[in-house]
């Protein structure tokens, strides 16, 4: 367990406390879930194992293999507890559980432990669970966030987070959702579901769909950590590389995206000197690696677009032709009105706002994105550039009615004030 140091004594308590919730603790949890066949039982066992470590390690010293020690302690605590409770349960249930408990783990290799972390990820992101529950379960079980932390990040009550998690665990048990890594033929589809969760977590942190704060740092950090973990566990999966690259490249603009007064700054007006070169470097490297692989997916293509922006010295110097070509490609493999809207913005940069407006009107004509505030914000911007103040004001107002996020609402307000001058 790499996260343990040999420092004995008073530090141990603090170290163990931190470990309980960080990666090392999550690794032990992932294995205990498999051995004990149940999330709640495993969490309890993890808790008991750490408690035992707090008592024994200061006296007896750190064991040679702390992870194996914790897993073994957790398993025995769970067996003890089952024995104590057994007179209340039916015999059948106990036998079934004991069978799972007898599973030997001592002679399993490291590879099997690593697979436990994948099993945990694929179970938390199982497509049969509602997206909200997938996100809550992932943050709780894999990232080790508390219910309160998740609630704060999503601006909902801890009770509703707890309910989502309880219901998800109940469904895993009742519908018998297995604790396993999908078969190779199922992997692309199942991985898609995992990547979606990671990207939703990232966007919730980066864009923050509602509430007072535009960037909620923690969730983007958690998403990047999840992306790195996935790539470590499934190296060479092109779409994991693509997603991690996309998140890094978007995150590189974090400091340039918000002014000192907390106001939103659009891409074209951002001070590019504030972009994080390290993240751009890492993101670009990943994109290039993903592009050498045979299949190019939606995250990779979006990352290539983000990399194009990242490498341009200014909005004017951006290779819009290339970006439009990439959007065309993206639309061919993944038709989506949101991508069409993004393409319209790129077209407007190349051919002028009138061309962008025509594409937006076509989208609206097809009944698409009528409740999407970004569409009206883009429409307003094109009218504004054309000097059509009246139409611009109407569209900004429409966007304002739909926007949920405070910083974006203020941005629209600012534009409206400027126009009314």
């Amino acid at each position: 367990m790499a996260n343990f140091t040999d420092k004995p004594g008073q530090d141990l308590q603090a170290q163990l406390g931190a470990l309980y919730r960080n990666e090392a603790g999550r690794r032990v949890l992932a294995t205990l879930i498999r051995l004990l066949g149940d999330f709640d039982r495993a969490e309890e066992a993890l808790h008991d194992a750490f408690k035992a470590a707090l008592e024994q390690w200061p006296k007896e010293g750190m064991p040679a293999n702390p992870r194996a020690w914790l897993i073994s302690a957790g398993r025995f605590k769970a067996i003890d507890k089952l024995r104590r409770d057994s007179r209340f349960d039916t015999l059948d249930e106990i036998n079934e559980t004991n069978e799972a408990l007898i599973t030997q783990f001592e002679d399993e290799g490291d590879e099997y432990f690593e697979d436990d972390r994948l099993r945990l990820i694929f179970t938390c992101c199982h497509p049969s669970l509602p997206p909200d529950a997938q996100i809550a379960l992932t943050l709780r079980e894999i990232c080790g966030l508390t219910t309160e932390e998740i609630a704060r990040a999503f601006l909902i009550s801890p009770t509703s987070v707890a309910q989502r998690i309880v219901r998800a665990k109940a469904k895993i048990r009742a519908a018998r959702i297995p604790y396993e890594v999908p078969e190779p033929q199922q992997l692309p589809e199942r991985l898609d579901s995992v990547l979606k969760v990671v990207y939703l977590v990232f966007n919730e942190g980066y864009l923050a769909t509602s509430g007072p704060e535009l960037i909620r740092h923690d969730l983007s950090v958690e998403a990047l950590r999840l992306g790195r973990l996935l790539l470590e566990l499934l190296p060479g999966e092109p779409e994991i590389m693509g997603l991690l690259a996309l998140m890094l490249l978007q995150d590189s603009r974090r400091d340039a995206r918000i002014s000192a007064h907390g106001d939103l700054i659009l891409l074209e007006e951002q001070d590019r000197a504030l972009w994080d070169k390290e993240k751009i470097g890492e993101g670009t490297k990943l994109v290039n690696a993903a592009l050498t692989l045979p299949s190019v997916g939606v995250y990779t293509l979006q990352a290539v677009i983000a990399a194009n922006h990242a490498m341009a010295a200014s909005s004017e110097a951006t290779d819009w032709l290339e970006i439009i070509r990439l959007y065309d490609l993206l639309l061919r493999i993944f038709p989506s009105p949101v991508i069409e809207l993004n393409r319209a913005a790129a077209i407007a940069m190349r051919d002028g706002p009138q061309a962008g407006l025509e594409l937006i009107d076509r989208l609206l004509g097809q009944g698409q994105l009528r409740d999407y505030h970004y569409l009206y914000a883009a429409k307003a911007d094109f009218h504004r550039r054309l000097g059509e103040t009246h139409e611009a004001i109407a569209a900004y107002r429409q966007a304002q009615r739909l926007v949920r996020q405070e910083t974006e609402r203020r941005f629209l307000e600012r534009r409206l004030t400027e126009l009314k001058k």
């Binding site: 039916t90 199982h126 049969s128 009742a174 519908a175 018998r176 959702i177 297995p178 396993e180 999908p182 199922q186």
Partner: protein, 124 residues
């Protein structure tokens, strides 16, 4: 563990062109043979169209009936399979092979196997 796969589609056999229905029946013959051979099959049936249905409720001891199915949706139940499989993932994989999944959709639901249910239904 047993799961029921409820097949829903906008069109049932009766509403398809004869040639299409015949081809669809053949797909079902092949699928049903397959899961019989693999040992996953428990039972299955095809339902007559929703137009032949009546919905029954008892309120204050009185029987109230309404014409048609209880849900006013475009898709209707056309049939079902009960399968016996290892877990949810295997159930999903088999449900995906049901010919109707390619036209409509298949709802996969675990069948209750708790003591009380088994006792009440005389299934033990």
């Amino acid at each position: 563990m047993k799961y029921i796969c409820l097949i829903c589609a906008e069109k049932v056999m009766e509403q398809m062109a004869k040639a299409d229905a015949d081809a669809h029946y053949e797909e079902y013959r092949k699928f049903t043979d397959d899961i019989r051979r693999s040992g996953h099959y428990v039972v299955c049936n095809r339902l007559l169209p929703a137009a032949e249905a009546i919905t029954v409720r008892v309120r204050q001891g009185n029987i109230a009936t309404t014409d048609g199915p209880f849900a006013e949706t475009k898709e209707q139940f056309g049939g079902y399979y009960v399968i016996d499989v290892r877990d949810f993932n295997e159930a999903i994989q088999i449900a995906a092979r049901i010919p109707g999944a390619a036209h409509g959709c298949v709802e996969v639901r675990p069948i209750a196997e708790d003591e009380q249910t088994l006792d009440v239904l005389g299934l033990r």
